[in-house]
């Protein structure tokens, strides 16, 4: 039998039918739903009088629009409230499982799926959200879809798809102390570019990836879309299986043993061929900071911001110039001398318990710098928040001058009240530094949770590997 990649295997297991040109009808196991990209899909079902194909496949949660401050008041923005209410109504009328805003299990859709065991190895997982790639950490084929496809999955349990090409990114050897999953993935995006993965599914491999916890693996897979690939995945191993065991939606008893024996097959076979291979040495990766308005515009903490005069490609030079202007940075500026106004620790990239522990380690015994107007920590879910509070992390943050908030997407995309004002500079653990992403005119620098906490307490970007 031909040697297969992990992606080949999961793909093949889900083909319902295939046309001669390779167009496949792909079966979908898990459909995660949130309030922003679903209302038009539910409306489409209603209008065409179509039932849901398999409602058990759906897990819904409001996350983008929910406030991160006191929720007893409800949602004050009437437009946001209508959208969350619409999700509630649709879930009620179709009989779907939803964790409503005040449920302890509510949180960011890409945090709660794995947390509940609703994401399992070998599954196909979709959601009307590009960061669905997160779930690939579980050797699942997971990718974001648009609202028309949300409706398509609701009505048919399938998607019409063509197979992507295979790419493998290998991190050779371990990374240094203090270098995190976020730094690894930012370094990868810096190397291959934001369109480098377009048309591919990326498998992440190598010692530094295997050494990551599931939280770290989710961070890496989460940002696959920032490298242009819809899906990123990592082979299943004992770390994966240990994480899944005992979670509410995970199989139990005899099913568990059968599932585990199937999951042991979820890795790339020796000798399988990839269309593209990229290798990065783990010890070459330093803590990363994005300087521009695209995630590929990223440098190491001890580097300087690029100079467009050194770029020969005119479209790229123009892009660097535009980004410098938007970001209010000078060419050749040292990034560790850049001061920040706000700090955001949260998002589907970095709001899990390990992320909060790592930020708290830096914040402990220190104080948010005077020039930092707001430093906020937004846990990924109610259960993450509860766990952090049991560990006393909330107290560490609050004593250091951080705000401790309720779970949601928050200032990653600023659909709720959490946002940057024009010109404000933010150290953010989120995933996108696009113009206006965190508020019109806001300036986002993507970093790891430890680097964000260090920026908060020192007031400027600081190499966490050099802290005591």
């Amino acid at each position: 039998m031909a040697a297969l990649t992990l992606y080949d295997k999961v793909w093949q297991q889900h083909i319902v039918r295939q046309e001669e040109d390779g167009t496949a009808l792909l079966y979908i196991d898990r459909h995660l739903v949130h309030e922003v990209t679903s209302p038009q899909a539910f409306e489409g079902l209603h209008m065409n009088n179509r039932p849901l194909w398999r409602k058990e496949s759906i897990l819904a949660v409001p996350d983008h629009n929910v406030p991160t401050t006191d929720r007893h008041q409800g949602i004050s923005d009437p437009v946001a409230k209508l959208q969350v209410d619409t999700l509630d109504q649709n879930c009620n009328s179709f009989g779907l499982t939803e964790f409503k805003m005040n449920d302890i299990r509510q949180g960011i859709v890409h945090v709660i799926g794995p947390e509940q065991g609703a994401t399992l190895p070998g599954m196909t997982v979709v959601c009307g959200d590009s960061h669905t790639s997160t779930h690939g950490a579980f050797a699942a084929l997971a990718f974001g879809i648009g609202t028309s496809e949300v409706e398509h999955v609701m009505a048919t349990q399938c998607l019409i798809q063509k197979k992507s090409k295979n790419m493998r990114v290998t991190i050779e050897g371990p990374v240094g102390n203090g270098v995190t999953a976020k730094d690894i993935v930012l370094a990868i995006i810096g190397k291959i570019g934001t369109a480098g993965g377009t048309g591919y599914t990326i498998e992440f491999a190598g010692e530094a990836i295997q050494n990551l916890s599931m939280e770290g693996r989710m961070t890496v897979c989460n940002m696959t879309i920032e490298a242009g690939a819809r899906a990123g995945l990592i082979g299943c191993d004992q770390t994966t299986i240990d994480y899944v065991k005992g979670r509410p939606f995970a199989p139990a008893a005899a099913d568990w043993d059968n599932a585990v024996s199937q999951w042991h097959e979820l890795h790339t076979d020796d000798g399988a061929v990839f269309d593209r291979e990229v290798t990065i040495k783990g010890d070459s990766i330093e803590p990363q900071v994005s300087w521009g308005t695209s995630p590929e515009m990223v440098i190491s903490i001890n580097d300087t911001v690029p100079n467009p005069a050194n770029e020969t490609d005119s479209v790229k030079a123009d892009g660097i110039q535009k980004a410098l202007e938007y970001m209010g940075l000078d060419a050749d500026a040292a990034i560790n001398e850049v001061f920040v106004d706000k700090v955001f620790i949260g998002s589907c990239t970095n709001s899990r318990i390990e992320d909060l522990r790592s930020a708290a380690d830096v914040a402990k015994g220190r104080q948010v710098a005077d020039n930092v107007k707001l430093a906020m920590v937004v846990p990924g879910s109610g259960l993450v928040k509860q766990q952090a509070e049991q560990e006393g992390l909330d107290k560490i943050f609050i004593e250091a001058g951080f705000e401790w908030r309720e779970p949601g997407c928050s200032m990653c995309l600023a659909m709720n009240a959490d946002r940057l004002e024009s010109g404000e500079r933010c150290a953010s653990t989120s995933n996108r530094n696009f113009e206006g992403r965190q508020g019109q005119g806001g300036r986002t620098h993507l970093v790891s949770p430890a680097m964000a906490a260090a920026a908060a307490v020192f007031g400027h970007f600081t190499d966490v590997t050099k802290l005591n």
Partner: protein
């Protein structure tokens, strides 16, 4: 979905790489629960000088006179000419809805982000990929001609200018078929309902915990 028919339209230039879906339609407009009405807020942060919120009267807002889609003839454009990695970022189909609501039927670029590319076909927007030499040439022609127009013939997969020069383009056969006939692909998939059911039967026998 309307049938995609041959047309001739004004081309507007968007001369930058990595135009992301946050730029195409900023997040505050995603709070809408409708599919329509996004056109006035297409490229909102670039198009207006003040910051916009849902429900504002856009006619009362301060328009950025330097932004391409605020200029004549581009405010009537039906074809957008762009660069590499157009539509990157979020999966929001609202980006496609905003483009079509404005009046665009085609985006020509050297490359598209996968999710945006996929979403386009679902809402009647045709994304055309051309190599960078041809795209460079189109940008040059556009600069040299006021009121630059192109004709798009999906059936024959040809772009032609007023001088009669033709550029062929590639498109997936199934997607072309759906666009030309205005087909709803949910309806097409449901024609295979029995096959989906028999797949499920076997699948859940093998992995009952997934049910």
């Amino acid at each position: 979905m309307n049938k995609f028919q041959k047309f001739t339209g004004i081309v507007a230039p968007m001369d930058r790489a990595n135009v992301d879906t946050d730029a195409i339609i900023p997040k505050q407009y995603l709070k809408s629960i409708k599919r329509t009405g996004f056109g006035p807020n297409l490229f909102d942060d670039w198009r207006y000088l003040d910051s916009g919120e849902p429900g504002m009267d856009n006619n009362e807002r301060r328009v950025n006179p330097d932004f391409v889609l605020n200029k004549t003839p581009y405010k009537y454009a039906q074809i957008l000419l762009a660069r590499e990695n157009f539509g990157c970022g979020s999966s929001r189909e609202h980006a496609v809805w905003a483009l079509t609501d404005f009046g665009f039927k085609v985006v020509i670029a050297t490359g598209f982000a996968d999710i945006f590319f996929n979403n386009s076909f679902k809402s009647g927007l045709l994304p055309i990929v051309l190599n960078s030499t041809v795209v460079d040439q189109l940008f040059e022609e556009l600069e040299d001609h006021e009121d630059y127009q192109l004709s798009i013939d999906l059936e024959n997969q040809l772009i032609s200018n007023s001088a009669g020069a033709q550029i062929p383009f590639e498109v997936d056969e199934f997607r072309k078929h759906c666009l030309l006939n205005g087909l709803d692909d949910i309806g097409l998939t449901l024609q295979h309902a029995d096959q989906i059911k028999s797949f499920e039967q076997q699948y859940y026998q093998q992995s009952p915990w997934l049910k």
